[in-house]
Every structure is written in structure tokens, then in C-alpha cells.
């Protein structure tokens, strides 16, 4: 198994930490992982993206331009990355702020209104975990228990009281994912 994933959105949406949690989940189940962020000034409020690879084998290039899956969190990222999903691959997007829905017919497209759910849960910070839940529903590559372990690893101890809330958010993501276009 090798999963090559791009997560892209605004800085501050938890793009990088979503990738990190996913990587830690992979580490928990003995997979090879890599996390390659875009870095630089664009991280400060501009667009941010991270390439995450989970694999049972040694990972070759951590830098890619074609992906098995894409998690898209804003319109700029949709414009930039829709075409990079491999035919037959998966694109999941949050509807909030999307002005042009994805148009590809050769990939599987899902929508998860994570931003709306996060505001219902009255915690904007749960946004990325809801999104991660939606992704894992579609692509169950790592076990939920390992995600929670990974979360515990990547969160500083002072935030460990939020683990319960994050677990709830992950579950919520499982529930809200909608199929838009399925091959």
C-alpha cells in the first residue's frame, strides 16, 4: 500500500497539523511516512499545503506532482490541485468558500462541510479533525485508535484535555461526508 496525498488550504486551517497527525497514525501502525510542507512566507495566512505519503515500503520521492488523494480546503487550492489527482483517485473538499465545484469526471469526489460542522461544535479548531475523519471514511488507511494515538503524540501535553473533543470531531467527519461524483 502506498498513499500519496496532498492537503491544501489556508494557513491557520490546520493543514500541516492534519498531515502530521496522519503521519503519526501511520508510524503507530509501523508504516513508512513522509510529510513535506510548502514553507516560507506564504505560510503566514496565505495558502499552505503538505504532501503526505503513507507506505508499507521505503518512500521514494517526498515531493510529488500527482496524487492518489487530495483534501482541498479553499478555492485557490482547488484551482491548483484538482488536476493533480491521478485518474481514479479521490478529491475531498470542504464546501465553505468554494465558488467553483470540481469538474473532473475521472476521479471520485466527496464533499464534507467541516467548517460548518466545526462552528456547530463551537470549536473552529476541530475543523481539521472533522476533515480528517471524512478522508478516513473514504480511505480507511489507518485505524481510528492509531489516529488517536498519533494525535496524542503530536499534541503538546497541555492540549491533551482536548483529545476527547478531537475524537468526537473525527467521528463527526465520518458521518458528514457526501458523495458528489463516484466512478
Amino acid at each position: 500500500m502506498t498513499e500519496e496525498l496532498i492537503i491544501a488550504g489556508f494557513g491557520g486551517q490546520g493543514v500541516l497539523s492534519m498531515g502530521k497527525i496522519l503521519c503519526y497514525s501511520g508510524v503507530m501502525q509501523d508504516q513508512e511516512v513522509s510529510w513535506m510542507p510548502s514553507y516560507g512566507p506564504e505560510m503566514r495566512g496565505g495558502t499552505a499545503n503538505v504532501t503526505v505519503i503513507l507506505s508499507d515500503n521505503r518512500i521514494s520521492s517526498p515531493i510529488l506532482n500527482a496524487f492518489d488523494s487530495a483534501i482541498i480546503l479553499n478555492q485557490q487550492s482547488m484551482d491548483k490541485f484538482e488536476q493533480t489527482v491521478k485518474p481514479g483517485g479521490v478529491l475531498i473538499f470542504d464546501g465553505n468558500g468554494i465558488t467553483r465545484e470540481p469538474e473532473r469526471k475521472d476521479i471520485n469526489i466527496y464533499r464534507a462541510d467541516a467548517a460548518a460542522e466545526a462552528s456547530k461544535m463551537e470549536s473552529a479548531k476541530t475543523f481539521n479533525m472533522i476533515m480528517l475523519g471524512a478522508y478516513l471514511k473514504v480511505k480507511p488507511l489507518v485505524k481510528v485508535e492509531n489516529v488517536l494515538k498519533g494525535l496524542e503524540k503530536s499534541l503538546p501535553a497541555r492540549y491533551h484535555h482536548l483529545l476527547g473533543l478531537n475524537e468526537k470531531a473525527l467521528q463527526r467527519g465520518f458521518e458528514i461526508v457526501q458523495e458528489i461524483h463516484i466512478l
Binding site: K20, D30, E32, S61
Partner: protein, 355 residues
């Protein structure tokens, strides 16, 4: 599994530095390697091992603090990125001239000048051919994973003290910023005694120890230079490091290090799907460069594509090694651009197979 950590390359170097028993780190922030000092200061190494971490006023000051500390026999390091390493070149030449062991990390970015903060590999000439003045060499190691970022720290110190020579880890922004899982070695104790040449205070049983790169007597200074060159010859003979990936039964090879070597591995997967038999020769020690080994592999190849995030620097050494036996071309991107695996396959077809 528990022992694996998920870390950025820069953080892995910092953690490995503490674990390797580093006595002192002197540095100055610069993107994309600032995490090294940030991690160190966060970790309170002064409590973990007694390691000293000091933010200097400039890269010029850092490298000279390194000189002073190395001259007094301590295990010390600095880290920076391309423009900062340029500023350090004078100090690096002095360190080589005074034969001081130390570790210098370059998490390289694109140049020239202020250039870009995105990854680059255009510091190959500077690192391997002597960026400072005079006839000297650094031992240059090029990691291609976060694990190697960690592993090369203690390896660098071993080489530095074995040969009384500065060692550079030449990485790049991609490997510095990317996270992979990494397993660390156990905590090494800091050195309890210093080498006999170190300036630690003159005791009655010996003559004063002098750390200097100056000698105004031409004959004596030439003898010193000859001695240095003999040391470099020995290093060239004994310390060459490289890796061959998928190199059995191949017609072509990529030669690449660091981030480029990682991308080339993906290119190999893609090329093999098309039936092109290509492998990767990865120099790990950029100096000493594996001339003999590249020359040897060339005997069974039809062509080599040297891939580097530069206008073509390492390709000169590859050509020297191949010595005209087969075709050697360079493919690279600059300015912080990174080639895609597909692009490299295309370059192989165009420049080597079809060319």
C-alpha cells in the same frame, strides 16, 4: 515502534546533536534551518547534557565561536543556510588551516545572493571545492532522509576528530523541512578529556599549545600544506560513501544526492513501468567524491544523467569519474524549483537515451 519519532530533518539534526554529546552549538537564524536552534533552545540541552547553545550576532561570529571552542578541544557545531554559509567561508578556511574538528550544517537554499528560501543544491562547488581561500577540503556528507540527518551527526564528529578536519553536512531545505520517522541512538556521553593539541591552559609538563593557521616561513608553510594534502589523500582513499539503488542489470543511471536522489527514486519507478532499465547511484560523501565507484559503474552503462537542483555542478565530478567512457548529462532546476519525477524521466529519454 515506540522508539520512532516523527520529526523534521532540522529537528532531527538538533536532537542527534544533543545525543551525540555535542558540547556547544553556535548559530544565527536563517530560513530554512532555523528549527535547529529553535529545537535546541526548547530542549534545554544545558539541563540534559550540559551542552551550551548560543545565538551569535552573525554567522561570522558563529563560525569564529566555533573556532575558539573547537580549538579548546570541544565537540562543537553550527548550522546555517546558503547565504549564511557564504558569510562563514573565511572562518571555515581558518578552521581547515588550523586543523580543527567541528561540524557545519548547510541546509541549502537557492541562490545566488539572497536567492530564495526554497531548496537548492547549488552550493556543491562551495562545499566540495573549498568555498574559502587556500588549498583545503571539508569532508562533505549529503543526507537524503530525516534518518540520515540524525545519523550523520555522530558520523561527522567521528570523521572530524579522526582527521582533525571540519566536516559539513550538506542538506537542503526540502530535507530540513520535511518530516519522516526517525530512530535515535542512545545518549552519548560528552567527552571527558580533550585531545593533546587543544588549548585548555598550559601545564608544566608540556609546551604551549597554539591554534593557528599562520606561518610566515614559506618553506615550513609548504611542508604544512603538503601534510594537509596527504591527509586529504588518506580521506579520499578511506572515507568514500555511496549507495546504489536498483542498480542490478541496468542500462542507465541517475547520479544524485539529497532531495534529488529521493525524486530520482520515484523516476526509477516510473521509468521501469515503461521498460527503461535505470538505477540510482547516490554519492553520500560528496567530498571525497566516489570517483572510482562512478567510473566502475559506468563500465556497464550506456549513459548517466546527473540530477541536481543547480545549473550543473556535481556533473563535473561525474564526468571526471566517467572520463569520457559514456555520455554524461546534467538535468536540474534552479531558483527553488524542484523537478517532478516525470520531468526527470523525460530528461533521461531526451538527453541520454534518445540523444
Amino acid at each position: 515502534m515506540e522508539e520512532y519519532k516523527l520529526m523534521k530533518g532540522n529537528e532531527a539534526i538538533a536532537e542527534a546533536a544533543i545525543l551525540a554529546g555535542t558540547d556547544g552549538y553556535f548559530g544565527y537564524p536563517i530560513t530554512p534551518q532555523s528549527e535547529v536552534m529553535e529545537y535546541l533552545t526548547m530542549e534545554k540541552p544545558e539541563e540534559r547534557t550540559g551542552m551550551v547553545v548560543l545565538q551569535a550576532e552573525s554567522e561570522v561570529a558563529s563560525i569564529n565561536m566555533l573556532y575558539g571552542a573547537a580549538g579548546s578541544g570541544k565537540k562543537v557545531m553550527t548550522s546555517s543556510s546558503s547565504p549564511g554559509i557564504s558569510l562563514m567561508q573565511e572562518g571555515i578556511s581558518y578552521l581547515a588551516g588550523a586543523e580543527l574538528p567541528c561540524l557545519i550544517v548547510n541546509v541549502a537554499r537557492g541562490g545566488p545572493g539572497l536567492g530564495t528560501i526554497q531548496p537548492g543544491q547549488a552550493d556543491y562547488f562551495q562545499a566540495t571545492k573549498g568555498g574559502g581561500h587556500g588549498d583545503y577540503h571539508l569532508i562533505v556528507l549529503a543526507p537524503a532522509s530525516v534518518q540520515e540527518m540524525a545519523d550523520f551527526v555522530s558520523m561527522a564528529y567521528d570523521l572530524a576528530f579522526k582527521y582533525r578536519n571540519p566536516v559539513m553536512i550538506l542538506s537542503d531545505g526540502a530535507i530540513g523541512q520535511m518530516m519522516e520517522k526517525v530512530k535515535f541512538k542512545k545518549q552519548q556521553e560528552r567527552m571527558k578529556t580533550q585531545p593533546g593539541w587543544a588549548t585548555v591552559g598550559k601545564t608544566p609538563d608540556r609546551e604551549p599549545n597554539i591554534i593557528t593557521s599562520l606561518d610566515l616561513d614559506p618553506a615550513r608553510h609548504e611542508r604544512f600544506n603538503i601534510k594537509l594534502q596527504k591527509k586529504y589523500e588518506k580521506i579520499q582513499k578511506e572515507e568514500v560513501l555511496f549507495e546504489e539503488i536498483a542498480c542490478d542489470d541496468i542500462d542507465y543511471a541517475f547520479v544524485a544526492y539529497g532531495t534529488s536522489a529521493r525524486i530520482c527514486q520515484k523516476s526509477i519507478e516510473l521509468a521501469r513501468e515503461e521498460g527503461i532499465k535505470v538505477g540510482l547511484f547516490r554519492p553520500i560523501s560528496l567530498w571525497p567524491f566516489p570517483y572510482k565507484e562512478v567510473g566502475k559503474i559506468a563500465d556497464r552503462l550506456k549513459g548517466i544523467l546527473s540530477v541536481e537542483l543547480s545549473a550543473g555542478q556535481m556533473v563535473e565530478d561525474v564526468r571526471l569519474a566517467v572520463n569520457g567512457k559514456i555520455k554524461v548529462e546534467h538535468y536540474g532546476r534552479m531558483g527553488g524549483m524542484i523537478p517532478t519525477p516525470e520531468e526527470i524521466v523525460l530528461a533521461l529519454k531526451k538527453q541520454i537515451i534518445g540523444g
